[in-house]
């Protein structure tokens, strides 16, 4: 089993043959955990039932991408609940989730697992804990900016930005596909945009202001 790396520093101990071997603590101390993490994620993912997960593993079994994941969704939930914050947001799992909602539909505890994954993605993007030039957050960010500026997304612009910021080589490899789409009239070069851009920007800015105090 892959135990999460801990922050404890390795100590040296003599092995049987006299060679020095690094020894690492494989278990986290409770004091190193972020104990409020589970509660926080549950709140952001719309459901306290995250905390009552029965660890049945139905989520991992229905997930079409679970065999690429480092931790199955069941383990991610367990980590979130117990406060393994770093391990959860550093997990590859959250980037693989394609939001197909199969787990959410099948979960016997009605946990909004897809929302949990979204919440973890946002947490990871906010703290910048993903490899540089990692395509998924780059794509999300490019899409976010495009829609903020124009109100709509244009696939040609989106893909060009994605490839330039991640792997320009991929652009060459997919250029043929792009050309074919263009010839079939399915990749217009026109930038799609709405008329009331200022109003949309005001709308998005209004969301940023902090929530007013809830009435008691």
């Amino acid at each position: 089993m892959n135990l999460p790396p801990t922050t404890a520093s390795p100590v040296a101990s003599p092995s049987r043959r006299g060679k020095m071997q690094k020894v690492t603590r494989r278990v986290k101390y409770e004091s190193e955990l972020d104990l409020g993490f589970g509660e926080r994620i549950a709140k952001d993912a719309y459901g306290q039932n995250l905390l009552s997960c029965i660890q049945c593993g139905t989520c991992g079994a229905t997930c079409p991408l679970s065999y690429y994941m480092d931790y199955t969704p069941r383990r991610v939930i367990a980590m979130v609940r117990e406060g393994f914050r770093e391990e959860a947001i550093n997990s590859f799992t959250i980037w693989l989730c394609a939001s197909c909602y199969a787990c959410t539909v099948q979960c016997p505890r009605q946990i909004h697992i897809t929302d949990v994954m979204y919440t973890l993605k946002r947490e990871a993007i906010k703290q910048g804990v993903y490899p540089k030039r990692y395509p998924i957050p780059v794509l999300a960010r490019a899409f976010f900016d495009l829609v903020r500026h124009f109100g709509r997304s244009s696939e040609s612009l989106l893909l060009i930005r994605l490839y330039l910021q991640t792997n320009p080589f991929l652009m060459l490899r997919n250029a043929g596909l792009g050309w074919k789409l263009f010839r079939k009239g399915r990749m217009p070069l026109k930038i799609e945009q709405i008329k009331e851009k200022t109003k949309l920007r005001n709308l998005l800015l209004a969301v940023e202001r902090p929530r007013e105090e809830e009435p008691q």
């Binding site: 952001d44 719309y46 079409p64 991408l65 690429y68 980037w95 693989l96 394609a98 939001s99 197909c100 909602y101 199969a102 959410t104 539909v105 099948q106 979204y118 946002r122 993007i125 395509p135 998924i136 957050p137 794509l139 999300a140 899409f143 976010f144 829609v147 109100g151 709509r152 997304s153 244009s154 696939e155 040609s156 893909l159 994605l162 997919n174 596909l177 074919k180 789409l181 079939k184 009239g185 399915r186 990749m187 217009p188 799609e192 709405i194 008329k195 009331e196 109003k199 949309l200 005001n202 709308l203 998005l204 800015l205 209004a206 969301v207 940023e208 202001r209 929530r211 007013e212 809830e214």
Partner: protein, 302 residues
Amino acid sequence: MKYMYYPGCSLKSTGRPYEESLLAIFRALEVDLQEVRDWNCCGATAYASIDEKKAFGLAARNLALAELQHGPSNGEGVNLVAPCSACFLVLTKSQKYFDTYPEVQRDVTRALEAAELDYKGKTRVRHPLDVLVNDIGIERVQKRVTNPMKGIRIASYYGCQVVRPFATFDDAMYPTSMDRLMSAAGATPVDWPLKTRCCGGSLTGTIPEAGLRLNQHLLNEAVRKKADAIVTCCPLCQFNLECFQSQINSRYAEDIHVPVMYFTQFLGLSFGLSEHDLGIQRLFVKPDFRRPAVEKGAPAHV
């Protein structure tokens, strides 16, 4: 009944044949679709990964515009047709969350005020499948069929987001509405257990190792079930299954050539509409339904 229509960004670019064929068959059925003026992007899955509150704000603007432009609805609610799966999911999800969580509703109301809009919550988000099967009805569709697609074996691919988890018009894991429409068009729907298995969405571009594999499984299963074509109701599924076929063939040493078309295009063919009006010429793998597959005495595959 009047329907408001929210195309979404995909239907204006890679999904253009979807829009062309959808409008064509609704015209043929004499159902009015009125495009929401100045609609904005729904936010798709990427927006919620950056800022969820803004994602709800984007969706709310569209719902509010639909309500406003529809005019008085006599207490029936405003039907908003969203053909793209991602748009459909995002809009239904937002609607559900406004109704369920007061804090979301407060955020959204405040955001809409900044854009001089007001949303009363009357919009009902509908998928064309839902409208065709439950409002227009299979019988009316069947009556319009002038060119029955006899003997054509069709694998209906719903993808994930149309039926999960906020849609109520069909089963979340084993839906049948598209299969019933295919039967109405005279075709033979094949029993295809992967019909709601995810195609990976944008993973084909971001993590091709995982994304292309998912599509390979889907295509292989369709070939194994002797499907003459895959029909789908999602622009991203159509794009993945069709446009990456050559990459899948070279990467995994396969030899797959399956036409992947929109269910609206197939229905349009059965209505006798012209290929050009349905955007058939925009497909990469041209469907050829002239050979009778079953009548040649091929064994029946279920």
